[in-house]
Symmetry: D2
Subunit: 348 residues, 4 copies
């Protein structure tokens, strides 16, 4: 198969770097352009980007020249957007209008009725919205978004429960990693020997996105899933890996074993299609009493699998458990890439 | 008032040190004896104890000689027990039988029907159990326990809600400090860049103790409070200060303002009596969006007040909020001392 | 004694907050004005400042109104400067010209030949420069600076060795706390599970300031001390407290005991005069094998004493030891206040 | 080439796990036995070992049965020793006597005159001691040791300087990772917001081992190198990666460029032979002002290369620089494996 040309918009930030790292040697995609803000455009990438990942900047990227974020200068079919939301608001439609498919990690268009909030293991049929989107907006291209990092980790664990038992309501308390705020988002002085029980806008995103993600695609529109959800979000001193404590009330009343079986046997379309970035299995079920833990489990499935553990009976609702996922791989850049892989494979 | 003689059992550990530090210059109590295990008995305290508190060992303690843990050699009316639970199991009754009042931080006797699980702001009337206890067991002395650190912080926040609105059920997710596991309880390698979503026995303690603490004393017995509670406990990288996210369903349906008023106006018997260790107010209500935080709020009220913040409407239950308290002061040594102050003042 | 009116310039930053905290109830000084940049001027201090210290903002400060940084609006005799160096460059002379004595923590004027780089325990006679400074510059007021935080901690340990044995040369490797970079100076993502072996300009400051600090005041000028010094500076994950490993070659060849005696018996003019902020003793000598440590020793002498430990023979030079001091108290705000106390007492 | 049978002694600890991880799929070696103390012997490895590495326990190891540490039951030619030093003292000679070649990370025999303290890039000719050792001790097998982790990182950086310019003396201050003390060696409470300026026995090891490592093998004996060295060792809050600040006096007076060239062009016998674990290059020279850093540079060369940076003129000695290496790979298990690779290749 001839490789599809892709570009990364916002290539110098932390999520942009994850995109570049994950696209290195990708079997479907060829990274033809990297674009960033005016401050960086025209520079060597090695000079423009302070590299934040432990793996080191790929040698081949050092001398690549950073482009402007402009549809006229980008040579690609798919563009990955790691742009800040306020920039994405204007830039992403411009690219879609110019015929690009935008696989976006930004929150700007996630809530639009005709924009898919895609997680290929959960709602691949939501890609059907693209036809509606193009018709509505008169675009040749399209925007596909992935959810917020905390929402992705959570809803991947909800999907098998939703399908097998139905979900009535759930509470989730998150303990989120520093990288979720961007490389400079949390100062060391504010978090040393500390936890910050607040992340601006996060609880609202988790609550609203979950309904759309698990919703059904019917007659050209998403019908939100109908459970209730409430979130409490905290920032803790970990580099990567969001950990979430979940209390959940299911429609049916399965045993702990049945719930664990649902997690273990879960797989979705990306696994069936063998998409390159699809983790096998997407959910790792831990049997130890004290797992999942961010440092030890975030890289499960090369950072694309979530890990679930401590599944146990709850005295109020049916079940409680802990779930963990890598927030900048499964929760950001990897999510967009998997979306683009599905899109490419489905030849939409 | 002539000072009451007190001793500390288990004086070399971290909670023992908190006792010593808090008893320095205490207006009611005179520390006449410090006792520890055979390994330490007979040594200078300055040699026997590795001092763990940032404030430094009080000069006056350096040359004190450590006693054996034996009722025959201890000269005191009240003994504070910072013993491990398995040691407390045998030692505490021996002291009670010998006429001492044992104010214990150990968990060994917390669940006994005739042993008060005392928090003076919440259930001072539970001291009435002592008469029952003495009759049952034929002791001249008595055992008074304080709850687990996580339970204390939680139930102090529950009390005003329980009294004003009634509690139907609640979920709590804790993010607990390292000191709760003892000075050597958590290795640095296990917690660096990590969260551990498990603390052995903790969830069970929080769930069971809460009902007894908020129970009523009636006809010589505690009648458990009748709400439902479920906990999920996590260890995070903080030195002191347990933070808890609470989702709560109240019998009445108060507004956020009414709930905040209940927190703000809360006070109990220790505040009325002006007990030396009683914080004024016992609950500090924070109005910032991102408080309480362990590093900044754990020392509220000299470590004896809890801090509540982020009180907000919940989409499933009525209210959600965050609460924080110092786990080795309010949650351990300070709790026992306040218990002993109430006991001494009530001249039981 | 009637209190002297003082103001704090740059009152909203972390060092500014230390000034405010340390001036609370000060016996010599009355805080009449607090000033900050245009963004804050005119606001309530409680609204203008995000309070960073664990002790909490003094109640009395909440409603104070923040002034502009302008000599015409400030009502004070002494102004403490916590300004960034580039702002201090213009502002401090303007205040000195207008008749204020500026006790500055900024680096802007530290290297000027007629500006004292004052540490009252080391070089109180350097205040004699003020006469020269006023004559040179035609000012009614004056500028008095304190050294860089790392330099202060180091030179306080050097002074007794310099006086008793002479110093030929020394190497120092620092492990510096986060607060030295300002509250937002180091991002959590850059320092988690990490050490940064570089602090811009720090090594040069330590090397150059030390000579001036230990220099003699003779004939209206400072004659630099004549030892050699080389520094290597590192940022580690501590909140406060700079730790430094020193290897030192002395002119005389004292025993370890003699060196320890020199540390222990050290005292200076502030101790003799009983200045309010002077620690007694200024150097705490630790005998344990593993001290000083930042968390346990930074608050020695209310944060104004340095702690020295691990004094031992060196196989190349004579002696090696570790020294620690609180970088934002002894190394910044407390240093300026002690300078002002000496100035006030000496009625210059 | 037929694979050589190897075993790991002390297979359940952190260094033992590194051995197992690095031997997975090794081209020279086949892991035939894993042995550990009585407590673990006879159990499945998956049950006996709490796995500490982020990469997860290799699937193939889960069901392996742990052997006793007894030459009679071990089927291997080479045994890797990750034993505690006091156990190694008796066990290693027993294995050597029984004909095994022991590649040891323990310190028990490092100082023996007839035992090589081998770093293949530095002193491959020290393997000549084996003949002496066998003759002296009447063993069929042999003991080959690798140095202490801090010494390995340091001396790898010293070797090119020693060869090109001669070394007169040096000072080194280390900032060492937690894993160097074993998984449970440092409690989280002792190191949170802290640095510990002491590691028992470490400074002595660094000082004594360096002379032997850089010594010459002549006439059947090692002649120690003749420079002077002094160390100051500190424990900081990093998981892996020892960082060291070095001040060095060279015999010749090279420029910074010449020193950097010496680092860059350095290579040794393992690189020439293409040994599987040999990093290419062994020294990574960083040109950024703030590198090397533990989190970003410890995995250079798959954890086997050291990283050097901040090479600059020194005002007292000639040169100062920072050096970093992974303490449990290059500084422990990887070091022993490289030693065994050299031994196997040289067919001694």
């Amino acid at each position: 198969m001839k490789k599809i040309k892709v570009a990364v918009l916002g290539a110098t930030g932390m999520v942009g770097q994850r995109f570049i790292s994950l696209l290195e040697g990708h079997p479907f995609f060829e990274l033809t352009d990297i674009a960033a803000s005016e401050r960086s455009a025209g520079k060597r990438y090695g000079d423009a980007a302070s590299w934040y990942l432990e793996s080191g900047m790929p040698e081949s990227m050092q001398d690549r020249v950073v482009s402007e974020i402009d549809p006229k200068v980008i040579d690609a079919d798919i563009v990955f957007s790691a742009l800040p939301s306020d920039v994405a608001m204007d830039v992403e439609p411009a690219f879609a209008r110019a015929g690009f498919t935008v696989a976006s990690n930004a929150s700007a268009y996630r809530d639009e009725a005709d924009v898919p909030l895609l997680i290929p293991e959960i709602n691949p049929e939501h890609l059907g919205l693209l036809e509606v989107q193009r018709r509505n907006r008169g675009w040749d291209g399209a925007i596909i978004t992935n959810p917020n990092c905390t929402s992705i980790v959570l809803t991947l664990s909800l999907k098998p429960l939703y399908d097998s038992f139905g979900i009535d309501r759930l509470f989730v308390t998150s303990m989120q990693a520093l990288s979720g705020a961007g490389y400079s988002g949390v100062s060391a002085m504010s978090i040393i020997d500390n936890v910050i029980p607040y992340i601006g806008g996060e609880e609202e995103k988790v609550e609203s996105e979950s309904h759309k993600i698990l919703g059904s695609f019917d007659d050209g529109a998403i019908k939100d899933a109908e459970f209730k959800i409430s979130a409490s979000c905290n920032r803790v001193f970990t580099s990567d890996g969001h950990l979430e404590s979940v209390f959940i009330d299911l429609s049916e009343k399965p045993s702990v074993d049945e719930v664990e079986d649902a997690f273990k046997s879960f797989g979705g379309l990306p696994q069936k299609l063998g998409l390159p970035t699809a983790p096998k299995p997407p959910i790792v079920l831990r049997s130890e009493s004290d797992r999942p833990q961010p440092r030890f489990d975030r890289m499960a499935g090369a950072g694309m699998a979530i890990s679930v553990g401590r599944v146990r009976k709850d005295s109020i609702f049916d079940i409680k458990y802990s779930v963990l996922g890598h927030n900048t791989i499964r929760g950001a850049a990897g999510a967009s890439i998997l979306n683009a892989e599905l899109f490419a494979r489905e030849k939409l």
